[in-house]
Structure formats: structure tokens, C-alpha cells
Amino acid sequence: MQEQILSTAPQAASSIAQWLWLIPAAPIVAAGIAALLKQPRRRLASGLAIGSLSFSLLLSLIAFGHNVSAWAANAPTREVVNFTWIEVGSQSVDLGWVLDPLSAIMLVMVSFVGLLIFIYSIGYMEHDENFTRFFCFLSLFAGAMLGVVIANSLLLLFMCWEIVGLTSYLLIGFWYQKPSAAAAARKAFVTTRVGDIFFLLGMVWLFAQTGTLLFYNNGAGSLESGALANLLAHPAAFGLTAAGAIGLLIFCGAVGKSGQLPLHVWLPDAMEGPTPVSALIHAATMVAAGVYLIARVYPLMQTGAVFQGLALGSTPALTVVTWVGAITAVFAALIAVAQDDIKRILAYSTVSQLGYMMAGLGMGGVAVGMFHLITHAFFKALLFLGAGSVIHGTHEEQDIRRMGGLRADMPVTFATYGVGMLALCGFPLLFSGFWSKDGILEAAKLWTVTRTPFYLLVFGALLTAFYMTRQVAYVFFGYWRGHKPAHESPRVMTTPLAILAFFSIVLGFIGTPAWPWFQRFLTNPTAGTETLGSHEPGLLLLMTTSSLVVLAGIGLAWRIYGGRSPSPEEPDALEQSARPIWLVLRGKFFVDELYGATVIAFFWWWGRVADWLDRRVWGGAVAAVTWAFAGWARLNRFLDTYWVDGAFDKGCEELSSGGGLLSRVQTGRVQSYLRLLALGVIVLAVILFWSSHA
């Protein structure tokens, strides 16, 4: 194992990088304090959480600015700070954190969106008696997430990753009184665990191969040329290099976390949690962590790829990522078409969008995927918060068929929600979603392996537009079908909506093909991913196509659902036209049932078997042994009573009389003891001397 250079020898990390750890530390500390608070200390708890997170935001902005300026000055934009965590013999496990464009951008995004959602939660959780607990969990989550972002060691990343998983579990099951919530929490936890097992395997393998888990360590890190060459040298199964295999294993973890096929099942159920949680964890940040992870270990996946024409060729690992992403995108979008729960729709759309990101990573490289991640984080958070505000305003109503005409009752929500929806659909030119999604589509078009993902993604775009329009039509248009009239949400909830809306518009413009600042910034340092060729002929055509697709989707949906507002009882328009398909989509392709019929059923059966074994086999054995011993004991008792005791009693009498004699010695007079002691000393000394004589 190579010599670990701790705390970054050559370019000594700037003080900002040195203090980067403060960013995750602050919320975690806040969580620790909040955990000790009593329930009534609401203001303090929320104050702590928000204060700490705004502190992190401030630091993140500073770090970001620092990094951008370094980039602008063509200085090295990656600063790492490493330290040895444990040392076992010659092996030492190092942890550390890294400040590079990737982490800088993520830091800002996470802390900013998180902050807005925290503020929003004050309003949303107002009436919950576990307010402080909620904020404790939230800050813990934020801290862990930021930890994931800055981690420079797969191990540290994994730790924070697990904490994130834990908080997700806690927050999904926040209303654990609801059995459905508890079940959802458990489901989420277990499902993600499945992915994490592979992640862990990949990690171990990586350590075994490179002897380090640090990403960057001045050439000694596992993502740097030396280690990569080594990894490339070792072939693994199925024509994969060790690099690719490890990458795929890690990708499994990402699949679990960001709800890709086939581990997506937990994400829709996760909507049982409070809406801010859905927004923060299950739309904006945590699920994006998977994507981020892939972006982080991208070199691992990409190494060995060769240039074909003007685009970089793919590797098996990347191909897998791409396919998984593309399929998930369409799959989830299809399901989303047929859902009635406002949050469920958004959940599936999240899954699908994550699929987009994955595909983008797989085909276009870090910049493409990350760009969509960032924009998506904003508008999806916006949508969720909007949904939350709708739910809040309609007294915990979640079924979109029981809403309608809300644009009048809650104008702010409507406006912002509309923005979010258009952004998600990728409405041409104006909205961020358009640009980011366009990037992905273009990457898909240029992809050297096959075109299929491209068509899938285009179809996905159509569907996205469709279901979002459907939802909006249901919720905000037509007339009110609920019982109690709706009301607009308080300022503390609407303000974040407005801010998010603003960003989900403007963010797009930092990454337009005309001025791909974002891509340049991001791809500059990370190992040679190509910036998407912005002066590439097909671009305009592509843009028009995607716009047309989007418009088509919106128009179609509007034709079907627009204006009219069916009563909750009457079947959905699609259902009337194509019932079987509808049922399939409605039933989410019956994946849950499938798992239920296979995996869970198997485990259930296995449990039965084990139970039977316990009762019958082992239990029987134990019983037999028991009987044997019982019989033996009876025999002993017999012997005791008739033989032993007699002798024993006799002996006892003897002893007690002897004790009586001895007890004379114990007068309770200290001095007599002392005398005896001294006598003993004398005797011993004399013996000693005589023995030494002889």
C-alpha cells in the first residue's frame, strides 16, 4: 500500500478547504442539541436547525465562490484534506473531504434548498406535537447529506450515506402511528439496504485493489491515474475490468438510493412522510445522492473508454447505467400517468427524472447529469412544496380527483406550481428543465452505442408533459370537488415557493448551449469528460423536436383533461378508452406484487420453515435433554437424602464444634490480632533466617 500523504502535501489546502468540515458539522451539532430539547421548545429547535443550516449555506457559498475564482484563475480547483482515521499495522484507513466544482455546486444546492424547506416546514409542521423531533431529524439529515457531498473517502461517504438512509427511515416513519407510514419506512430502509450491500462489496473490493478509499490524494487516491491503471489491469467477470465491476457494484447502491429500477418501489411509498420530507429527501437531495455518487466515482466507470469520433465512447459500466436510467425514466413516467395521489405522481416523476439523470451521466458525462440534478432539485422541491401547500390548504386531501379549481383559492401556490410544472415538463427556452433535459437528450443522440435510449427518453419527455398537465388540470382547473373550501397557505410556506420558482426559471440559463458555463466549470477538472459540443449542427433541430414533443404532451393532456372536471367516482378518461393498459399502469406494473409473490413470499416461507425447525427439531432435542437431566436429578436426590446427608450432617457437627473452638481466637480485640500478626512476623523471620543459614 502506498504511502499516505496526509493533509494534502503539494498544494496545501486553503483555509477554506481546511474548515470545510464545519459545513456538515453545524447541522449535526444542531441536531444533537435539538435531540436533547423538550418538545415544547419549538422555537428554539427550529431556530437551531435553520440557523445552523444558514451557517452552512453561508460557508458553502464562500467555498463555492472560492472555487469559482480558483477556476477562473485557472488554479487547481480541487483541494483535499485527508487525515488518518484508524491505523492497523501498516494499513491505515484515511478519511477526508474534498472541495471541487462538483462538491461546491452540490453544497450550495443542498444547503440552499434545504434551508428553504426548513423554513417551509415551520409552517407545515405547525400543528405537529413532535415539532422538535422533526427538526432534529431534518438537521441530522442535512448534516449527513452535506457530509456525503464533501466526502473525499468512499468510507466517509458510505457512513454519511447510511446516516442519510437512517434519517430517511426516521422521517418517512415520522408519523409512526400510521401503520402505512411505519410500513413504508421499513420498506424504504430494507430496499435501500439491498443496494447498500452491493455498495459495501464494491467498497471492500476497491480497498482490496487499491489499498485506499480516498478519492483524491495527490496521485495516491483511488480515482487517480495510478490506481485507475491498476484497476484497469485486473479483468473481472463478463469482460468487465475491475474498475467497471466496482463501479457497477457502487452503482447498485446508487440504484437503491435514487429509486432506479428495480429498487424503485420504496420511493413512492416514502410519500407517507410529511411533505417537506418528501420534498427535501425524496425529491431534491437524498435521492439525488445516488446520482451524485455516480458523478463522484465517474472516473472509475469511465476509465478505459476510448474516443469514437467526436464523442467519448462508452464502457460496459456506463452502458448499464444508461440503460437502467433510460428504462426507469420511461417506466416511472408511464406509471405516473395513472396515479391519483398528488404526491405519488410527483414521486414517480422523481423516479423518472432520476432515470434521466442516470442516463445523462451514462451518456453525456458528469456535467449533463449534474446539471439536470441541480435544476431538478429546485423545481421538484418546488413542486413538492406546492403539493404540500395544496394538501395543507385542502385539509390533508391528497386525491387529485377530489380537488379542482384551486387556481382561484390559492393563487400563489398555483402560480409557483405552474412554474414548477412547466420546468419539469421542460417547456421550451424559458424554464431550467428544458435546458437540462435537452442536454441529456442531446447526449443521448450523440451516444455512440445505440440510439434506443434517445427514443425512450423522448417518449419519457412526452409522458412527463402529459402527466404533469393532467395533474395540474385536475388540481387547479375545473371546479372544486372537495368538501371543505380550500384556503391559501401562510406566508412562511408561500415565500419559499416563490424563491424556488424564481430559481427554477433562472437556473437554466447557466447551462444553455449558447453559454455552457455550468458544464465548463464542472467538466474542467474532472477527468476528461467532453463538454457537449455546443456548436454542433443537429442541436437546433433537436431543440425544436423536444419542444414539439413537450408541447404535444401538454396539448394532448389538455385535450383529455382540460376544462372538464370529472367527479371522483367516474373512471378516468384514459380508463374509459384503454382499460387494460390503464389497469397495468394503475397497478404500477405490479412490481410490488411481484416482489410480494417472489422475494417476500420466499422469506415468509423460510421463516415458517425456521419456525418449524425451532419448534419441532431443536425444541424436541432440548426437551429430550431436559428429561434426561431431570431423571438423573431424581436419582441424585434419592442418593442425597439417604446416603450423603447422613455423613454430611455428621461432618457438619464436627465442623461447627471445631469452629466454636477457633472462634475463641476471634475476640474482636484489635490488639490481640495485632499481637498475633507480630508473632507471625517473628516466626516467619526466624524461619527465613534459618533457611538462609542452611
Binding site: G668, V670, Q671
Partner: protein, 103 residues
Amino acid sequence: MNPLTGYLLVAALLFATGLAGALTRRNAILVLIGIELMLNAANLNLIAFWRYGPHPEALTGFLFAIFSIAVAAAEAAVGLGLVISIYRHLRTTDLDAMNRMKG
């Protein structure tokens, strides 16, 4: 005779005196005094051996003496505390009277 022997003899004499006191006096406090004397005799030995020992720079005996002084202080405090609390029960410090565990 060599100096160390002298010190040792003095220490032994002191020890014997203390022992005699501890063995012959009735008053618990005086017994304690005797014990203190014995301890000090031991200290004298330690210091003397340190001084004339082969490795005075190792400070072994010296520090042993220091520690034993500290311990002796603790012993005195506890012992006298005991005597006082016993006196509270039995109204006497006569050791011969203190032969019961019941207070």
C-alpha cells in the same frame, strides 16, 4: 559500624517502640500513634536505603517514602475518623471495650 546500619537500627528501635505502644495502650488514638510511629520507621528505612543504595538517581526508595507518607496521612485521617465515630457510639476510646460489631 557503617552509617546505614545505624539508621536501620534506629528505625528498628522506633518500629519496636511503636509496636509496643500499639500493643500495650488501651486508648485507640494511642494505638494509632503507635502505628504512625511504625510507618515512620519504615519511611526512615526507605530513605536510608535510597541514600546508600546502589541507584539513588532512580529515586525508587525516595518516592516510595513520599507515597507512604501520603498513604499514612490518609490512614491517619480515616483511623481517627473511625475512632471518633466509635466514640460517639460507645462513649469510650478504650480498645478493650470495642469488641463488638454492634454499635
